[in-house]
């Protein structure tokens, strides 16, 4: 009865047919995720440090930035980056209006991710007991050495699971890419849906791909976690 009622709506063989088509766009999704993550981590560390050292002025701006990025839908943030930023820059004579759309997309996702990562990174850095920093200074380490050798590995260990979840989220939530005409895996699923009306099968195909990547990513995270733990304990 189940199969009978679903007839016409869902055909498993079409999922298999959609998979190779979807895979042709995987490099776009991966490029977007990797580039946005790198931007997000770099900008996130900067914002986190601004907050930790309470640099006057910047601390308040960072707070407002984080609040806006966390509190509003990403599509609105995309409008600001894609339409607002060129308008502001053109008033000072720089024309970026017809830059590649991918750049705006990476900026949107990267800046959004930075806001989330900044809080994760800040929490992770703060969680390292102050005694360890003092001990590091006591044995003659410089401030930079202390940060890289003592604080950073532990902070990464603390923050890694949350960062992993953010990356997985970004992987799937690339709906905005297709709105701008960039065809990533999810965009390809939509395109197949619009062309053949078999959207369910294409979406399920995309989910299968995301599932495999999520599993891989989880493995990588677990591996880094284990190695860091060994390193910290080993030291």
């Amino acid at each position: 009865m189940w199969g009978e009622a679903m007839e016409g709506f869902f055909n498993i063989s079409l999922v298999v047919e959609a998979l190779p088509q979807l895979l042709t766009r995987l490099h776009i999704t991966l490029f977007l995720v990797v580039a946005a993550t790198i931007l997000g981590i770099v900008a996130g560390i900067i914002i986190a440090l601004l907050r930790i050292y309470r640099i006057p002025g910047f601390n308040q701006i960072s707070l407002l930035y984080i609040s806006f990025m966390r509190g509003t839908p990403i599509i609105v943030q995309m409008f600001i980056v894609y339409y607002g930023l060129p308008a502001i820059l053109s008033s000072v004579g720089i024309n970026i209006n017809r830059w590649d759309k991918m750049i705006f997309l990476i900026l949107t996702y990267g800046l959004n991710m930075a806001a989330f990562l900044a809080e994760i990174i800040r929490a992770a850095i703060v969680s390292v007991p102050i005694g360890q920093t003092e001990a590091a200074y006591a044995v003659g380490m410089t401030r930079l050495q202390t940060f890289w050798r003592i604080i950073a590995p532990q902070a990464v260990l603390m923050g890694l699971p949350s960062i992993g979840i953010n990356i997985v989220g970004l992987l799937q939530d690339s709906s905005i890419a297709f709105l701008l005409g960039i065809v990533d895996v999810m965009g390809k699923a939509r395109a197949i849906g619009a062309n053949t009306y078999h959207s369910l099968e294409a979406y399920v195909g995309a989910a299968v791909i995301f599932l495999v990547i999520t599993l891989l990513l989880e493995k990588v995270c677990a591996t880094i976690e284990r190695r860091l733990t060994m390193k910290i304990i080993g030291d």
């Binding site: 709506f9 990797v34 017809r98 297709f178 009306y197 591996t223």
Partner: protein, 276 residues
């Protein structure tokens, strides 16, 4: 050791992907530059959709196809002073991109009304007739006209002309029809809703409904007379009157010599171009 290899593999894979994408992006931009440098014509960017079959959608290999593209290619052939380039965006982003000068013409079966004309410059010459019809489940016999929809619930898509037409009707007749808004991005849920009687009807055009029936098996049908026959237009920025005048003139010619009708028959399966 095993873990080491896994990480290395992933890093290698990712770097290869970044590298290829960069190369592809690089090649893409250089070819673009060389073509625009070679010709003297003015570059016009057309904003059209990527998910609206048969008007504008992507084929298996990801190329833009459909009625919008075919008509504008012919328009461009007759206006050598311009060079059209196509950009695929969703419905709302076409409008925003037009306002922000990211594109110069919007082509997504836009319908005119005074509110919309406030913000954008609409063409005078239409290029498609949009015939909206009531669509119901295959076994329904009680609905044959818009009056039969009184007290019934009708699914309407966001951004579509269907919502606008029924909203106007409701305004004039004291809200007799219950409108159920949906994203309309996925026909599967809409057809399922009709099949299960969760909603009584939706509004669509014949060619699209035929497509649904081919795909999902005969589940829905078109009933009664069209509830609205409207024309669709290209939209421009307020100041681009020259561009609009040029294209209007060509569209008129294409209607007179039958080219537009030919394209419509070829792509839409019938002549949907007669002027209102």
């Amino acid at each position: 050791m095993k873990e080491n290899i896994l990480i290395r593999k992933v890093v290698a894979l990712v770097s290869v992907m970044i590298f290829t994408t960069l190369i592809m992006a690089g090649c893409g931009s250089t070819t673009k530059d060389s073509t625009s440098g070679a010709s003297e014509s003015k570059k016009i960017i057309i904003g059209t959709g990527n998910g609206f079959k048969p008007y504008c959608y992507l084929d298996d290999s990801g190329n833009l196809v459909g009625y919008e593209l075919e008509v504008l290619k012919e328009v461009n052939r007759r206006l050598p002073q311009y060079k059209f380039e196509f950009e695929t965006l969703d419905f709302k982003n076409i409008l925003l991109s037009l306002g922000a000068s990211k594109v110069d013409i919007g082509a997504h079966q836009f319908e005119k009304n005074p509110d919309r004309a406030q913000k954008y410059l609409f063409a005078d010459e239409s290029y498609t007739t949009f015939i909206l019809r009531i669509t119901v489940a295959k076994n329904r016999t009680d609905i044959n006209s818009i009056e039969d929809l009184h007290g019934k619930s009708v699914l309407v898509g966001e951004g579509g002309n269907d919502a606008f037409v029924l909203e106007q009707y409701n305004k004039e007749h004291g809200n007799p029809i219950k409108l159920v808004y949906t994203s309309g991005s996925d026909p599967v849920t809409m057809i399922k809703a009709l099949e299960d009687c969760r909603a009584d009807a939706f509004i669509s055009i014949k060619r699209i409904v035929d497509g649904y029936n081919q795909t999902y098996g005969d589940k829905v049908k078109i009933v009664g007379q069209p509830i609205s026959t409207s024309s669709t237009y290209y939209i421009y920025r307020k100041e681009d009157t020259q561009l609009k005048t040029d294209i209007d003139k060509v569209l008129k010619e294409m209607k007179a010599d039958g080219t537009l009708a030919q394209i419509s028959i070829k792509v839409l399966g019938g002549d949907y171009t007669t002027n209102d």
